[in-house]
Amino acid sequence: MRRSLLFMPGNNPAMLQNSDVFEADAVIYDLEDAVSVTEKDSARKLVAEFLRFNKSLPMEVVIRINGLDTDFYSSDLEYVVSDRIDTIMLPKADHDGLLQLDKLLTKIEQEKGLTKKIKVIPIIELAKSVLEIEKIVTCPRVDGVLLGAEDLSSDLDVIRTKKGDEILYARQRLVMACSAYKIDSIDTPFTDTNDNDGLKTDCEFAVSIGFTSKSAIHPNQVTTINKTFVPTKEKIEWALRVEAANAEALKKGLGVFSLDGKMVDKPVIERANKILKKAKAYKLI
């Protein structure tokens, strides 16, 4: 379960050494877009050494490797895959690429004798990937999917806007697929790092259509994301009342009961349970 995933440039020692202090549920050490082509070798070694020697790491360590269509991904995996990381993030992911990545990771895990299985978060940033999202979410290791709206807009040849009408279909399709397979749906980053009101509106919209999490490109976005991607105080209070009323109803042998003049049945009780589960996970109750 994640609320926020914070991108960190992989070739910046000053940012790496502070990456565990921003309260993001996951930190994504980026070897792809944040690193110039001439510094790929340097970045992967820096991240690998950082992970090996730093005792204090974020809750979840994610590495965004370079795409499978580049000359870099193989060395990225060779250097960074270890028991110190949790997840590989694959850019421009598609179904066949994810199957290829699974084989590569299995081989590396066996060769290095890893004690854990590395998870994968594919980034959906091609129109083709949006269309095959139902297959992507069933791929091995995938436990969340990130929407990459900047590259997707480029692929669609449309202008990226703050409101995001141009990515609405992709957002909803991704949420539906992730929800069906009970994995995290991770919204695209909000790219204006100086517009906190815009970020809040964007987060609230993402929550309203079912996203579980959002990525951040600046540490100053993490707090807003963490606050928005948890149940509100009102929702928690409502869920607690449903839970209490349900307990009373069960004593009376009732499957359906009324609360505040509204019928409460199994789907409503399940929704309340989900809210309480999330609230407990983030220590809100």
Binding site: A14, Q17, D41, S42, L46, E49, F50, F53
Partner: protein, 84 residues
């Protein structure tokens, strides 16, 4: 002469140059020289040992890099020198 350079002069980083040489030579410039010269030198020596290199000249311009950064930059510089 083969040469490899990696890193930067940004804060918390180090710019490391490695050159082929007839003997081992280590030159360190650091903003924390008085306190950390020995530690930086030890990291460089240990990394060279790992890379099985003895006859090289290493120039480290340190801007407050932690050990893992110096090690990573040196390993990159060595790899670049070998590919040069």
């Amino acid at each position: 002469m083969k040469i490899g350079i990696a890193g930067s002069l940004e804060s918390n980083d180090a710019l490391i140059t490695v050159k082929s040489s007839e003997k081992l030579e280590i030159i360190i410039e650091s903003i924390v020289y008085d306190f950390f010269y020995e530690q930086i030198k030890a990291v460089i020596l240990d990394t060279l040992k790992t890379a099985n290199l003895s006859n090289v000249c290493v120039i480290c311009k340190d801007k407050g890099a932690l050990d893992y950064t110096i090690r990573a930059r040196l390993l990159t510089a060595i790899e670049r020198m070998e590919k040069a």
